[in-house]
Symmetry: C2
Subunit: 700 residues, 2 copies
């Protein structure tokens, strides 16, 4: 859907325009006029007359033409009839500013549903209700009561909080941040965040999309489309309200480790969205993305006129995992010619406290040519000789001739560097108030470019026995059994290509010995009873049984002793199972997020998983490289690769396990939670074994 009627209207009706100062209907009209909107404006007010020199109409029908966009500011009770009138005249787009809907409770929710229905039937799209309005700087359109029309710029903004948008506009004006469009989406009764993000994605004037969101309407569509948009331009989001997640009782390790934030983190990672923690941080990132080229890599050169800030920047570069650019011999030689002998010509390049603009200029030009440098950070502190204006002018000159490498600045101080900062802003050089925030921004740019150059997502489909899984799941749902027992859980896994320990249940000692003989020694024996959960507590687990005699002894001892300890337990026999020793234990898991679907987990296995929390999450379906990345994102990975000379395990086999599991939970949305723990993996070539599994299903 295009939002052309919203972003590029030629005529606008303002229903509820008022003659009274202080009223929203007056302030909004005033904002429109003051901003200099070049299309037609039709105030609509039952009293007619003129408002601020414009002829007012008693209703939309009286205008005599269909306005491209209608702004509605009438009281909540009248919104539905106004919308009906809009539909009647054939209007296609509206912004409902009026509050008093879903946000006030049940009555308001009904009203909101009613207006949404009217609009839908009448094929009218609308923003709101309960929003601050819409601003399109290019068209001098300010249909909001958020303040003056902001500067034009490359950032498109979307906000779910009107009040916050007002503060954002005010802050942006103060530091000279410019916008292409600003949309206050309010209650999202029709147009939602994704509609706006999609439109901003297609909008030429928008170089970077930024926003504040509290909720996401359609999780799956959001992930799918945001990923495509992120490939074209960065999306910077503040997502609040994440920590107070719905507390659904989880029965798996994966479920209990996947908090409310986990899903959003996985979504943002998958879709390449850059998460911001504050408006300040968002502005920091936006000004760089909107105005500078993307860096080719992660190496940074720092040019400073003082040691202290240079060290602070160097610390931040190391902390953020960026690379401190190693200057070429040629650069070092050139620098030694243009800088005084006392200057530090290694990175960070210290042009010294008495540097004027020329010394900065020469240093920047030399460093810009260095193939080892991806981004240049220029630090300046106001010292006795410092020429902040001249230096800013020099930077602006160089930046306007260069559009290959990002240049960012940090002029530290306030009134003493004000002139310089002003020039930097006009020249669209990002300016930061601390080396740390400059470096943080460089880090985010370098991460984004890496995300964009990730391999194409290809999800491999394994040949599986889908029918078998279907049957088991259907049976559970029919019987209203949420938890799938170990045997059937393993059957499901086997159907998707997992190996499980060989073995079966014996009812006599001789049978146990035969089973063991077939499996091969050593074996594990486990008492088999639906009534005994903690098997080891009753002596119901024996490991490392090496021959038939030991198996038979163990069988008879269990059968003799356990009924004495658990007289009421219904004992079905003893499970004789292949012993999976020697490998490493990991966990593969899935927890289904109500908004975003299956969230895959990988981590160190065993009972330690919830203690160490060394796990990583990713949205299903997984590609091979995503599955591998999930492993790399844990500390366990190093262990799996082999520590201190120890042989490593088959990493690819684990990644394949994750992909198979991802296929299973994608094909069966009934599966709510799933753990394979431990998943025992050995060296390359061996087959990993799903020793224990836990699974729950639900009707969908």
């Amino acid at each position: 859907m295009s939002l052309d009627n919203f972003f590029n209207p030629k005529s606008i009706a303002i229903i509820g325009a008022s003659q009274k100062k202080g009223k929203v209907g007056y302030e909004l009209l005033k904002s429109m006029i003051k901003a200099g909107f070049e299309g037609e404006i039709f105030p609509v007010n039952p009293k007619s007359g003129t408002i601020e020199g414009l002829k007012a109409y008693p209703d939309i029908a009286s205008i005599g033409q269909v306005p491209d966009l209608v702004i509605i500011i009438v009281p909540a009770a009248f919104v539905s009839s106004v919308l009906e009138q809009c539909v009647q005249v054939g209007a296609k787009a509206a912004v409902v500013i009026t509050a008093g809907f879903k946000e006030i409770g049940k009555e308001g929710k009904k009203l909101e549903e009613k207006i949404a229905k009217i609009a839908k039937q009448g094929k009218l799209r609308f923003i709101g209700p309960n929003c601050l309005g819409l601003i399109v700087t290019e068209n001098k359109l300010n249909a909001s009561f958020g303040g003056d029309l902001p500067k034009c710029g490359g950032t498109g903004y979307i906000s779910q909080s009107g009040a916050l948008l007002a503060a954002i506009l005010d802050m942006a004006n103060a530091i000279g941040i410019g916008f292409s469009k600003l949309v206050s989406i309010g209650n999202k009764a029709d147009i939602d965040e994704l509609d706006v993000i999609r439109a901003l994605g297609e909008d030429e004037g928008t170089k970077v999309i930024a926003g504040y969101l509290e909720s996401i309407t359609d999780g799956n569509a959001f992930v799918r489309e945001a990923e495509i948009i992120s490939n074209k331009k960065p999306i910077l989001l503040i997502k609040s309200g994440g920590t107070s997640a719905g507390a659904k009782a989880a029965s798996s390790h994966t479920g209990s480790l996947a908090g409310g934030e986990t899903a959003y983190e996985a979504v943002f990672e998958r879709a390449g969205i850059i998460r911001c923690n504050s408006i300040k941080q968002q502005f920091n990132y936006a000004q760089a993305f909107a105005n500078q080229p993307l860096p080719a890599g992660s190496s940074v050169a720092v040019i400073t006129n003082a040691g202290g800030p240079g060290i602070m920047a160097a610390d931040a570069i190391e902390r953020q995992g960026l690379t401190f650019a190693k200057l070429t011999e040629e650069t070092i030689e050139k620098l030694s010619k243009v800088l005084p002998p006392a200057a530090n010509i290694l990175n960070p390049i210290d042009v010294l406290g008495d540097a004027l603009a020329d010394r900065y200029e020469q240093a920047i030009e030399v460093v810009l040519d260095d193939p080892n440098v991806d981004t240049i950070l220029i630090l300046l502190t106001p010292q006795a000789m410092t020429d902040s204006v001249g230096t800013a002018e020099a930077i602006a000159r160089i930046a306007s001739a260069n559009n290959k490498k990002p240049i960012v600045a940090c002029f530290m101080g306030a009134s003493k560097v004000e002139g310089g900062v002003q020039i930097l802003r006009e020249a669209k050089i990002p300016q930061y108030d601390s080396p740390e925030s400059a470096v943080e921004t460089i880090k985010v740019m370098s991460d984004y470019i890496r995300w964009r150059s990730r391999p194409k997502r290809v999800v491999k489909l394994f040949p599986v026995n889908r029918r078998k899984v279907e049957k088991i799941i259907e049976k559970h749902i029919r019987n209203e059994q949420r938890e799938v027992g170990e045997t059937e859980a393993k059957e499901i896994l086997e159907a998707y290509g997992f190996a499980t320990p060989k073995g079966s249940v014996a009812t006599t000692a001789e049978q146990a010995a035969n089973i063991a003989q077939q499996i091969g020694f050593p074996v594990v024996m486990k008492i088999w009873s639906p009534d005994i959960i903690h098997k080891s507590d009753v002596g119901g687990v024996k490991v490392g049984l090496k021959n038939q005699k030991e198996v038979m002894d163990a069988f008879d001892l269990m059968m003799y002793r356990i009924p004495m300890k658990k007289p009421d337990a219904h004992i079905l026999g003893v499970l004789v199972q292949q012993m999976c020793g020697g490998g490493k234990e990991v966990i593969l898991g899935m927890n289904r997020d109500p908004r975003f679907g299956p969230l895959m987990m990988f981590g160190m296995g065993g009972t330690m998983v919830e203690v160490l929390k060394d796990v990583s999450f990713y949205l299903a379906p997984l590609t091979a490289s995503e599955a591998r990345q999930m492993l790399i994102n844990t500390k366990t990975y190093k262990m799996l690769k082999g520590v201190r000379g120890e042989e490593g395990v088959d990493i690819d086999a684990i990644a394949e396990g994750l992909q198979r599991l991802s296929q299973l939970v994608t094909e069966f949305p009934q599966i709510q939670e799933l753990d394979i723990n431990p998943y025992v993996v050995g060296p390359g070539g061996t087959v990993p074994i799903a020793v224990d599994a836990r699974m729950s299903v639900e009707k969908i």
Copy 2:
């Protein structure tokens, strides 16, 4: 040492005062006069005459009285003779602004040593050289060239970077931060950071000490004294240059895990110092500490006029581990009376977008009385009706009548809230530009108050066999052996009360069986040869030997097989050792930091320690509660307490082990590195065993 001559001089000589504008000697004198210093100022310049209306003297002797403080701005080559003259007239205090000393290399270093010697012999104390000067706002003393005299305030500042101090002054002026004293310490040839911090600690006008440091001169004294000062007032430090640590090759796990930052983190934790990552963050913290009472606890109430920022604050509170205040029934009832029905009267309290100052005022007063609230955070976004000035005045009124609970504000926006922000600043209400930074500051205050109320440090001394350790260490140092072998390392540990596995080396199968019999079964057997490092590779380790027969068989098999695999190895016998199974493996370690001494480590043991990095560090000597805290700071702790019904291990026994180790390394500074790994611990009442140990010693 008091810095009274520096902080409270009645007369100041400026040697190197100049008539030429733009020269430091002129600018500094001008700053002095402009600031309105009320004592006497004696410009000293060989050309005499008058400078800026003040009589100039040809040299310090001609003044005819001894100035309390001398500011020296002459070129580097003349500083030593000027200092000699100062000493001759009996001056006691100087600030050497002049640069061109240690920072320019070898020649400068010599010159610096020379002036330090002159001063020391003449009992003259001095700040610098290579510094920006000294500012004392209370005395209108601005002996710097950093700019105008800043506002008076509760923050005492110390900076190792002159250039940064200039930027800091400029930023502080812009946002109205006030200072008591500012000291640029330059090269610290005499007075160092600790002298200044100590003086600021005793200074009544200083409520909070803040600083930027690149190095610490005397690590041990710093830790000792900073801890005492932190008990009186908070110390906020930016410490840069930490990440590029001296890369000393480490042979222990502890050594390789203790990076350059680790020691500083341990020092700051021990001394209660609050570490800041940027000047902005430091100012954020300083304004709260300088102007607000400390909170009694960690619970926060939020009052807002918009939902979005309220959620952002709530997220930040949860993320920072603070408590969201649960308002009392009484508070809720009172709020329901003063606020409109649509307002949210639960925390965060939403006074609604149309709130004027009175609604804020009433809400704040009610919440301030709530015993469940420790800190109040007031958020304001500029909406149509918002009265930022009136609200700020109301907050100021309430805060001036209340001095029990901290109140902090976040008025979001810029020009629209400027008037309110100005009033907040004058009323000394900390104002933040985002909910996140406000909450971060509350967190730091609440951590500080918890640090201050920590139990008194009492280091327990265990009875040990010091003489035995002395002998072993002396022998190693005499023989220039850095690494202490396993046997002697264990003897050292035994001397300090550690249990090591029982066992000894057997040379015949019968002897092995006898040893095993004495130890008790099962036992472990290890081939004993200085030439075989990887014992298991040659079949040189057997575990779980259950009777004399198995021991004898194992002995003979090793003696038969290993010489075939390693014909050149000199085999001394087989070590028969107690088997320490069943417990959990942890690591206790120590790495000696060149500046701060022994750094203790605790973590999960085994080969996994360097992979999982689940370790914690603390400075020795340890108290019982510090040792316990080291355990709690790791994830391993939860495992030790017992996971999923499993029995926990003896936590106190591990803590005691750390304390004993701490005593050992404190009493023997020759010990450079030490690992006990694994340290096997069982349930309460069992004795933990130091299974393997690694130690290195050096002559000191």
